[in-house]
Symmetry: C2
Subunit: 168 residues, 2 copies
């Protein structure tokens, strides 16, 4: 397979995978392109390679920076801004976990906490089923919360190493 073809396929695969995870396709494609490009790219480079508009490029670059996956780079002598992605996939994964945890798991935990105490007779089957389910979900999300914190702080070798040892 030729490089250009392989690049295109990677960008497109990454983009469609992202949509299945509630992530904007363009955002994933920009990220994919930056991941496989050794040097920083300008907004115009991204627009051209991916055939996207200025506004779209701008918005999604900003989002990627906000997620901590891409950095702005200044190249001396150039007026334009350039962009560079973190290449260490383990760091990328941890960063994504960290952000999604903050944006989703933590708010969910707050809601569940409020739902834990409903008024009503505890002997009523409906009330009982509700509080029980919410309680179990809370237990689960609470454990997930702690474990993800550890994972976020973890060093690659330590984490996979321990997990693999634990598995055997």
């Amino acid at each position: 397979m030729k490089l250009a073809e392989a690049k295109a396929q990677f960008i497109q695969t990454w983009g469609s995978l992202a949509t299945q995870w509630g992530i904007n396709k363009t955002m994933a494609q920009i990220h994919a392109l930056l991941l496989i490009t050794p040097n920083p790219l300008s907004q115009d480079d991204l627009m051209e390679e991916l055939s996207i508009s200025r506004g779209n490029a701008n918005m999604n670059i900003r989002e990627l920076i906000d997620w901590g996956l891409v950095d702005r780079v200044i190249i001396p002598g150039e007026r334009k801004e350039f962009f560079l992605a973190e290449k260490d996939i383990w760091k990328v994964a941890r960063q994504i976990v960290k952000e999604r945890k903050k944006r989703e798991l933590e708010p969910l935990n707050k809601v569940l906490e409020q739902l834990q105490d409903v008024e009503g007779d505890k002997r009523n089957a409906e009330v009982k089923a509700f509080t029980e389910t919410i309680g179990n979900i809370r237990k689960f999300t609470g454990q997930a919360d702690k474990s993800l914190d550890t994972l976020i702080r973890a060093d690659e070798n330590w984490f996979w190493g321990s997990l693999i040892k634990m598995i055997k």
Copy 2:
């Protein structure tokens, strides 16, 4: 908080969380309602409680069954079909991981494998960066694949227990 209100909030929270993960809102809401309901519900019950159409209900119930999260239940003397959700959240989570792994991670691994060998000079910076990134992603997804398999097979206490011991 009153039960009815709490139920409604849980259903709506679960539904909007789902959309952030590429899961259909109605599917998540039906699942949420079945999770907090002790007895099996009919399609008509679901349609009424969630104010959704027959077609929508039918389609998403089928999808939930397909994901292994909901079971069809026959109640003697009743002509209708009833539906019941698995209440053990740990089992639910494992089932979701199992399905997403099968539907997404495994196909991704196949694509990455093909992308691994591109033609061209290995000393070329572009070729080098590409093969290196793809290689790293493969290493990562390969490890994730194995670890998820273990997690899927794992028993709750064993898994969290070991993870917590490992963390400390």
